[in-house]
């Protein structure tokens, strides 16, 4: 399959990339890993007149800890997240997520920025970033601005990014003592998009009560979803089996799946419930120090 014709740009700096986006407007698309965009172009679901390849902006590839945040450059590849020590040790939920995205070849190119900017509810990072209450940094002609993750996903394949903005960084608040998280994904085969996925993050105080809960859901709605009621329910309570079960039930109710080749809406809702329970249990065990 041959994509439509386009003009290829390979800017050497972020400013140059933003200037190109500003002057070319809606006719241009940013190319990161290309692992969503190129398949869409081959199917002619996307036919941009201009491609702005930002892979030359290697200073957007980093994983850093500073000022109470984990910051991840938008061009960081899934394979690098999968391999990172910091992520593996302190942000197991991100490691879980990157590890199950697509397959080794795709992970070598696919970027975390592209995964979020694509705005696809089937992608795995959005749920995890919702659970972690991440911030998205978007840089445009007037410099960077920070978008809370709750304001980022607007509709199917639609985000809060302006056409002349580039997603440059993810900012994740560093976990306090007693925090843990897990991402669970139900898939038909390795490398497939999720039938449903659940990211759970919790913080427990000294007596085991939940002081922070984050639950994000993959591929069970028009956008990635936050299970707000379940999060609220868990706050201030111990993560007993009963409370976790109730949280799972509420997350299932919060999901908005549709029936398709991956299963019926009813089945998916039941899976969200069960996987939320399992993800919360795993998050709790990790918060208590288990790896």
């Amino acid at each position: 399959m041959i994509p439509g014709s386009f003009e290829y740009h390979h800017p050497g700096s972020l400013d140059e990339a933003i200037a190109l986006l500003s002057s070319l407007g809606d006719d241009a698309k940013v190319l990161s890993g290309g692992q969503s965009l190129i398949p869409m172009m081959k199917l002619r679901l996307a036919e941009p007149a201009h491609l702005i390849d930002i892979n030359g902006l290697t200073d957007l590839e980093y994983i850093k800890e500073s000022d109470g945040y984990l910051t991840i450059g938008a061009l960081t590849r899934e394979a690098d997240l999968d391999r990172s020590d910091v992520i593996g040790k302190k942000y197991a939920v991100i490691h879980d997520t990157a590890h199950v995205i697509a397959d080794p070849q795709v992970r070598n190119l696919a970027t975390i920025g592209g995964n979020l900017a694509h705005g696809d509810p089937a992608n795995d990072h959005p749920a995890t970033m919702l659970a972690l209450r991440a911030e998205v940094v978007a840089t445009g002609p007037n410099g960077p601005r920070t978008i809370p993750i709750d304001d980022f996903f607007i509709g199917p394949l639609t985000t809060a990014l302006a056409p002349n903005e580039i997603l440059t960084e993810l900012r994740i608040p560093a976990p306090t003592q007693g925090s843990g998280g897990a991402y669970l994904k139900l898939e038909r085969k390795v490398g497939d998009f999720a039938i449903a996925g659940v990211a759970a993050v919790v913080t427990l105080d000294g007596s085991g009560n939940c002081t922070l809960a984050g639950i994000g859901l993959t591929n069970v709605g028009p956008t990635p979803l936050r299970a707000t009621a379940a999060e609220k329910f868990l706050l201030g309570k111990p993560l007993s089996d009963d409370n976790i079960a109730e949280g799972g039930r509420m997350a299932g109710e919060a999901s908005q799946p549709t029936s398709d080749h991956r299963g019926s809406a009813e089945y998916k809702r039941a899976m969200v419930k069960e996987m939320t329970i399992r993800a919360l249990k795993k998050a709790k065990a990790r918060a208590e120090g288990e790896q």
């Binding site: 014709s5 190129i38 398949p39 491609l51 397959d103």
Partner: protein, 155 residues
């Protein structure tokens, strides 16, 4: 139609060509360079038959534009043999019957090559994970795993 002159180092030799900017890497390899060992199976980024090594990393060449590889190094199945001597992976696939129709084999070998570069002594589980982006419709994977183990042992 937007054209561009690119230079890619493929299997150790520089190739310069004027190409359409929309030319996919797999088409450049197969049609411009006539290196037809790299296959096109699904053409939708699933099967891995088109896998090549781009600057040390396994990628699906049906999902990379040639212009993105300008100035970079590529290794294809044709570059695996040195002075007529088969690479241990090629030998492994032969010795362990790691192929039947052979369509997936070049991609399987390139993914396994990337795996062994990173992990000289993979477990069976790690081998299966390493080739999880490659589909084989014939073998049932058992002998592919053995072929990779053969190559790992030969070092």
């Amino acid at each position: 139609m937007a054209k561009q002159t690119v230079t890619l180092k493929v299997n150790g030799a520089d190739h310069t060509a004027e190409i359409d900017q929309r030319l996919l890497l797999v088409h450049f390899i197969r049609e411009n360079l006539a290196l037809t060992g790299t296959h096109i199976g699904c053409d939708t980024t699933h099967c891995g038959a088109c896998t090549v090594i781009l600057d040390g990393k396994a990628v699906k060449s049906c999902t990379v534009f040639t212009v993105q590889a300008d100035g970079k190094e590529i290794l294809t199945i044709e570059g695996m043999t040195t002075n007529g001597k088969l690479h241990p992976l090629q030998e492994g696939f032969m010795e362990e019957h790691g192929l039947q129709c052979g369509f997936c084999t070049p991609g399987m070998i390139m993914s396994s090559y990337a795996l062994l570069q990173e992990n000289k002594n993979p477990t069976e589980e790690e081998i299966r994970w390493g080739i999880s982006g490659n589909l084989c419709r014939c073998t049932g994977y058992m002998n592919i795993v053995k072929a990779v183990q053969y190559a790992a042992q030969k070092g």
